[in-house]
Symmetry: C2
Subunit: 323 residues, 2 copies
C-alpha cells in the first residue's frame, strides 16, 4: 500500500475542505463563519489526523470527517481568540470581528464549533465515543490554554514551567489529539495511539520554541511575521522568561526597564541582552530537546519503520534541526 | 408504572445538577462557567427531556445525561447572549461578563458548550448519532434565532411572520428538541417523536406570546419583570408588530413618534394605542391558537391518554388558558 506525503494530503484536504460548510441563510450569520475558512492556513492539524490514520491503515471516511472537525474547531478558536486579543488582522486579512462586528463574530465562532461536532457525528458509532472523548478533552484544554495566556498577561512574572504548560495546552494538544484520533480510526491500540499523541505534543512544543526563537532571531526575509514583534508587545516567551530567570541583576533590571520603553532601538537593545545571556543557543538546544522527545515517541510506535517516513518529513518541514 | 409530576422531576434534576461540572483549575476559567449554573432558572428544558422519555418508558440514564447537556447548552447561550446584549443583570444577579470581564465570559461560555457535548458523549452509542443530529441542528437554529434578533433590531420594521420565525428559532426549538431527544431515548418511533417536537414548538410560541402580552398587560405584582420593559426598550414584540400592521395611519405614526419619546407616560401612551386597536384580545386569541396546536399534536401521540397528564400539567403551568 502506497502512503501519501503530507504535501499530497494537504492538497487533497484543501480540495475537499473548499466547499461551503454552512447553510446559505441567514447570511448575516453564516457568511462570517465561512469567511474565516477562506483566509488560508497550512491545514496542518487535519493532515495530522489523516496521517495518524494512514500510519496504521488506509484512510477511512471517518478520518476525513474528523479532519474537517479539527480544522473547524481550530478556526472557531481563531475567531474567538481574535476577539479577545482585539486583533485587527489575521494572515493579512481582516479578522471576523473587524469585518462583521464583535457580536456577529462571537456567534459565528459558536456555529463553527457546533459544525465541528456535526462532522464528528458522522463517525462510525463504534468509534464515536472514543473520538468524542479525545476531542472534548482537547477542546477544554485549548480553552484552558487561552485563559492561562490571558491570566499571564496580567502578571509581572511567569515561570518557564507555567509558560510550557500554557503553550502546550494552547497549541500542542490539538496537534497531538489530531494524530491520536487519526490513529484510533486507523485501528491503533492504546499504546501506539499514546506514543503518537506524545510525538505530536512534543513536536508542537518544539515548533513553539522555534516560533519564539524566529520572532527574535529569524531572517526577516524568511519569517512570515514582523521580527521582534513579541519583544515590542512585551510578550512572555520562552526566550524572555529564560532571560529573566538567568540574567544577572543589572541585566534583569534593564530588561524590565525596556518593557516601558518604546524607542526604535527597543528590539535591538533586548536582543543584545538576549545574546549576552546566551539565549539563542539555549533556545536552539531546548528546541532540539523537544524534537528528540518527539522522535523518541515516534520510534516506539510498533509499525514498520518506513510507514513513519511521511510523519518524519512533516516534522522536519515544521521544525528544522538547525537554522 | 407510576409517572412523575414535572415538579418532582424539577426537584430530582436540580439535586443532580447541583454539583460542580468543571475541573477545579484554572479557576479563572471554570469558576465563571460554574457561576452561571448557580443563578437559578426553572430548569424547564432538562425536565422536558425527562418527561419526553417518561411518556414512553421509565427514565433511562441517557435522559439524565441529555437533560444535563440541554441545560448546559441553554446556559452557554445565556452567557454569550448577555455579552451581545451588554446585559448587566440576569435574574437579579451580575451577568458573567459583568462579574468576570468579557474575554473570560466568552471563553467560559465556550467551555460550558463543550461540556454539554461531554455529557452527550455518555449516551449509548446506538442512540448517540440520532441524539447528536437533533442536538446539533437545534444548536445551529438557536444561534440563527439570536442572529435574526440582532438583525431585526437594526431594521425599521419586521413582519409578524419574520418575528415568529425568529422567536421559534431562538426559544421554541430547544424546548421541542428536549422533548424529542427524551422521546428517542424512551424508544419512541419517528412519528410520535415528531408530534412531541411539534407540541413543544407550539407550546414555546404560545409561551412567548404570553410573555409579550404580560410585559404589556401583566399584573406587576405577579409578573417577574418590569411591566412595560419591552415598550421602554422599543422592542419589536408580537404586540408592537401587530399594532403597527393593523393600526390606522394616525395611530401608526403616533406609535413611531413614541419610539423616540422617553417621558414617564410612554408606557401608558403606547398601551392606550394597543387597547384601541384591540391588541390585548388579539394576543390572547393568538396564544390560545398556538396552545391548541400544541395540544393537537399531543393528542396525536400514540400512547395511553393518562400518560400525557404530566405534560398537560406542565403546559398549563407554563401557559394559562386565560388570565
Amino acid at each position: 500500500m502506497t502512503m501519501h506525503s503530507f504535501e499530497q494530503l494537504i492538497t487533497s484536504f484543501e480540495m475537499r475542505f473548499k466547499v461551503r460548510h454552512f447553510p446559505e441563510q441567514p447570511a448575516t450569520l453564516y457568511d462570517p463563519s465561512q469567511y474565516i475558512l477562506g483566509i488560508g492556513g497550512k491545514r496542518v492539524r487535519p493532515v495530522m489526523c489523516l496521517m495518524g490514520n494512514e500510519l496504521f491503515d488506509h484512510i477511512k471516511d471517518a478520518a476525513w470527517e474528523v479532519a474537517t472537525a479539527v480544522e473547524l474547531f481550530h478556526n472557531f478558536t481563531l475567531i474567538h481568540d481574535d476577539i479577545m486579543d482585539q486583533a485587527p488582522l489575521r494572515r493579512g486579512m481582516e479578522t471576523v470581528h473587524t469585518k462583521y462586528g464583535t457580536n456577529t463574530a462571537l456567534l459565528a465562532g459558536d456555529v463553527v464549533m457546533i459544525m465541528a461536532y456535526e462532522y464528528l457525528r458522522k463517525v462510525d458509532p463504534v468509534l464515536l465515543p472514543s473520538i468524542l472523548t479525545v476531542f472534548n478533552k482537547t477542546a477544554l484544554e485549548v480553552s484552558e490554554g487561552q485563559q492561562l495566556d490571558m491570566d499571564f498577561e496580567k502578571r509581572d512574572s511567569v515561570l518557564l514551567s507555567e509558560y510550557l504548560e500554557m503553550i502546550t495546552l494552547k497549541t500542542s494538544v490539538l496537534i497531538a489529539a489530531s494524530l491520536k484520533m487519526g490513529a484510533l480510526i486507523g485501528g491503533a491500540g492504546e499504546g501506539n495511539a499514546h506514543h503518537l499523541y506524545e510525538f505530536g505534543k512534543y513536536l508542537g512544543i518544539a515548533f513553539q520554541v522555534q516560533d519564539d526563537y524566529l520572532d527574535a532571531f529569524g531572517d526577516p526575509a524568511k519569517f512570515g511575521k514582523q521580527v521582534g514583534g513579541d519583544i515590542i508587545a512585551n510578550k512572555k516567551t520562552f526566550l524572555m522568561i529564560h532571560a529573566m530567570e538567568t540574567a544577572g541583576e543589572a541585566d534583569r533590571n534593564r530588561l524590565l526597564e525596556l518593557q516601558n520603553y518604546s524607542g526604535a532601538d527597543k528590539v535591538s537593545e533586548v536582543l543584545k541582552l538576549f545574546k549576552k545571556t546566551g539565549i539563542d543557543e539555549w533556545a536552539m538546544s531546548l528546541k532540539n530537546e523537544y524534537l528528540e522527545k518527539a522522535y523518541d515517541h515516534l520510534e516506539r510506535i510498533a509499525v514498520m519503520n518506513k510507514r513513519k517516513e511521511p510523519l518524519r518529513e512533516l516534522a522536519s518541514f515544521l521544525v528544522q534541526r538547525s537554522y
